[in-house]
Amino acid sequence: MEEIIDKLEQTLLSVNHIASNEILRSVENNFSPIELIEKLIVPAMNRIGDGWEKGTVALSQVYMSGKFIENWVDKILPPGHPQRTDQPQMAIAVLEDYHMLGKRIVYSLLRASGFELKDYGHVTVKKVIKQIQEDKIQILLISTLMLHSALKVKELKEEISKAGISTKIVVGGAPFRFDEELWQEVGADAMAFNANDSIKIIHKLVEGKK
């Protein structure tokens, strides 16, 4: 299995989607969809995430890998599949910013890992408060690139408190990576250093609620 994970990682990093597809096709009949995700896809994506964290993998490689894998997982575990349902109600958004790449990466990785979540796109504080109430969102992920967008989380958190909503806010992105105290300053419930980290945090938040 290690050898297949290695090959998948390498073909994903070189953006060779034909080769990645061949590797996945060669083993898909040996596993259930969830097993394939857990035993092959998640370990390969974790290695890519670790490489990003160490500076040996570039953001574009993380993005292209996530996009390919998300599409592939959608084929074996389509949206609405019963094995996707037992999840916390989640959504992801960017706050008063048009930089969508980080959001797209986290969204793809979470979906590729079997989670289901709503993509709110670009939102204002007012709009997202309404959305999370309507959708009964338990965990809201906010992806940021610009500092002012990161600082907006404080206003969001205050509005959430005023409205008496229990939604947890998980933040991530460049401003939080460059200033590791910023997530606490803006009152977020957690900060994810990268897309893989967001999965660990979601598991922790879910465990904490049980």
Binding site: G55, A58, L59, S60, Y98, M100, L101, P175, F178, L182
Partner: protein, 347 residues
């Protein structure tokens, strides 16, 4: 000339020759802070060249830094292309939705004129007026977004990455259009009086694309651009790392490299020694909450690690100091450079 009488320009030129001037030069890459000086909203401030001229002069008078910065805001090039920039009260301008909604629109893109853009002309007027006021006392630093990084705003980041990896023909056409614009824009600023151009190219950083991709794309484009820009160029990755592509960066024809706070300044200095002057690398996000004492410690540390022998300009790591960084921190940076940056450096 004794070392104590150096002008900012002389100081910067000396360090660019990898020699020690009278003290470490420092750039405060301030754009929006001029609005605070004039008590104007950011939108009002950037509505007239005269405001930016006055703002830049007042900032330099206050903080005694070694540069003038004619950068207005990210997205001004997009305005010239018909896109929008959103101004909000007391917040930095933000680029609107990408101007190219469908990648097939790229086929029909035409040459983008610098002369016909009121926004770019405002920058040129600012540069001309500042040159008259500043003369040869301090370098006037202009800015272009590289042809290779501009599509992040033209298309959106994710669409651009897909285009780069999957649509070679459209990618090449977009580069052709952007390259012609970038050269005209850089040279227009130099003609107006800019001393040097910062070539912002974050997408070329190994933070964003792998080295192999950079060598076939951003590296070749950058070499072409820098050879056609009629003045000194600083390459800046806007917080992105540089060391894994140091050999290529050193070959591109620039004089300065903007350094990320994610790389050790000693490593950067050693890597680019006698090849490129290192500009950096104070953490622009974190400095928002630094105390004067923390600021002094950070400045002292960077100077002691990178100052020896010249080839170093102290600055932030991003190429633009955030709007939220307060006066006290900027003053503490200035005080610390004047205290700890005198050559020969005290270890």
């Amino acid at each position: 000339m004794t070392q104590a009488t150096m002008t900012s320009l002389q100081r910067v030129l000396t360090t660019l020759e990898h020699n020690e001037p009278d003290r470490v030069p420092f750039f405060l890459l301030l754009s929006m802070h001029g609005a605070k000086e004039l008590n104007l909203s950011i939108k009002e401030y950037f509505s007239k060249a005269e405001n930016v001229v006055e703002g830049q002069l007042r900032l330099r008078e206050k903080y005694k830094h070694d540069n003038i910065y004619t950068f207005f805001y990210t997205g001004i090039e997009i305005e010239a292309m018909g896109g929008s920039v959103i101004f909000s009260k007391n917040e930095p301008p933000n680029t609107g939705t990408p101007i190219i909604r469908d990648i097939n629109q790229i086929k029909n893109l035409q040459y983008i004129s610098v002369k016909n853009s009121p926004d770019l002309n405002k920058v040129l007027q600012t540069t001309e007026q500042l040159k008259i006021k500043v003369g040869d006392d301090a370098p006037i630093i202009g800015v272009v977004m590289s042809p290779f990084s501009l599509p992040v705003m033209q298309l959106g980041f994710s669409t651009y990455i897909e285009l780069m990896f999957e649509q070679a023909e459209l990618f090449n056409h977009l580069m052709k259009i952007n390259e012609a614009f970038c050269i005209d824009w850089a040279n227009a600023q130099l003609e107006a009086g800019a001393t040097a151009i910062v070539y912002f190219d974050p997408v070329s950083s190994p933070t964003i694309i792998p080295k192999e991709k950079f060598i076939e794309t951003g590296f070749e484009i950058g070499k072409r651009m820098i050879s056609k820009i009629n003045g000194p160029v600083a390459i800046h990755h806007a917080s992105g790392i540089s060391i894994p592509i140091a050999d290529e960066l050193s070959e591109m024809g620039a004089g300065i490299i903007g350094a990320s706070t994610n790389e050790d300044i000693s490593d950067l200095k050693n890597t680019f020694k006698n090849k490129l002057t290192v500009l950096g690398n104070l953490n622009a996000v974190e400095m928002r909450r630094w105390s004067p004492k923390t600021t002094e410690d950070k400045v002292k540390e960077v100077i002691q690690k990178a100052g020896k022998g010249g080839g170093f300009v102290l600055a932030d790591n991003h190429g633009e100091i955030p709007w939220q960084v307060p006066h006290e921190v900027l003053m503490a940076i200035s005080n610390a450079v004047h205290k700890w940056g005198k050559y020969p450096l005290v270890q």
